[in-house]
Symmetry: D2
Subunit: 140 residues, 4 copies
């Protein structure tokens, strides 16, 4: 049975813009933090993976904005996967506020490379961990 | 004949991250600056439009990363449109470095609303200006 | 006996710049998060205080950089006060890494105002809470 | 006669926060951009200096906030120096809006180091350029 990884995020003033809502680019910062915690939970942090010669540049990012996150909101960032390939991995995200309303959905695709950015097979233990979070269908 | 709007951007340290390249979220900041200049060229700034009761929340954003922008690069941000509807407008962007290499392509879709976020028809003069920048086909 | 308030912060890629260290401006974002948690602990969040007509604009900020914070560092942000006046409050901060090394010290001075930015006496319960964190001497 | 270096900056939404003013940390981003242009005018960009083995880490930063910069303001960032030592340089800044009102004053102190962060004498031509911008007294 597939799982969803949850990362909690508290909205700060630094992330908000005119009109009191999170600036559209800042959600990508939040998704990066969530991915960082996902990797940590998978057994090796991004830093440890980098020391082992694995990095995960973003190829593509797609975000849909459905409602504003506000200052001091405590957000649930749900992380799961839609594809774990040999050298590619695609994450899917939903960001919800405390009322359970979905504010943002997103997707990022990454390639696994060596430090000189040559494509490289994902570490086996990472692939195994990721498999548990793969969903055949998109969650709403 | 359709046109492309150009905004120049100099990369600062604030925009870069580990590995000396622009952080993936910062490109959205740069696209916002380019849209701001596009609106100014169209005759009214975002601020003036807001004072007239028009705002343009982002519904959707899609970015493809093709190569890294580096500290101090002078970027060309090309802006054009793929759709100007009654209440919606979709911008398309290409970011190139000084060698003419495309580093990033992107697309943002906005809805035109009143300040209380009810859909509202685009101002006529803005629509007319935008029409000049509509491309039937995607540029590469 | 006076206390120190502790806020934990995990460094993300978004906060780092070329050379793999936290960008000098981002520490101010981190201090704001720490102040937000301090206010929450004091009984009312900044948002609740704002709803009651109290805001705390920054008058002055002073930061000393003693060593770099790196990606994925788990930082201790120590918060205490050096002055709680009738309409002013001065926070003092030390940011330490997991080895206990002080990376940054800082100070911010805020004025308490109404929403139209007229000076206003600090709420009594906030003053009482703050008093517990006042240190006569600067901590190292 | 001593000079002042001017850098122009247009405020974007990305830099603003709740209440429609520039977020207090973002001014440091703006000062970095101004320093970058100052170095370019001095003959070598920060990137070129880095390639020659000179970097300028910030030791200390002090900002006073006197009034809010707003979205779309075109700011004048005035840069001058208060000290050019053998291995240290202190910049002073005033940020003004189009009405000539001073919104922010600031000061940053930098040490010149080699890439492995050992103190290093400033390049001679940089020192000579800087001398032209040294003011004995603080400007208002």
């Amino acid at each position: 049975m597939s799982q969803v990884f949850i990362h909690k995020h508290r909205v700060s003033y630094a992330e908000c813009t005119v009109g009191n809502h999170v600036y559209y680019a800042r959600y990508l910062d939040i998704l990066e933090q969530a991915r960082g915690e996902f990797f940590r939970a998978a057994g090796k942090t991004c830093k440890e993976l980098q020391d082992l010669g694995f990095i995960f540049p973003v190829l593509d990012c797609h975000i849909s904005y459905k409602g504003p996150a506000r200052y001091d909101d405590l957000l649930d960032v749900q992380v799961y996967l839609i594809e774990v390939g040999r050298v590619r991995v695609s994450f899917k995200y939903s960001i919800l506020n405390e009322s359970g309303k979905i504010l943002v959905t997103g997707e990022t695709t990454h390639v696994c490379t060596s430090l000189d950015e040559k494509p490289r097979r994902l570490p086996e233990d990472l692939t195994a961990f990721c498999q548990k979070f793969v969903h055949d269908q998109l969650l709403k």
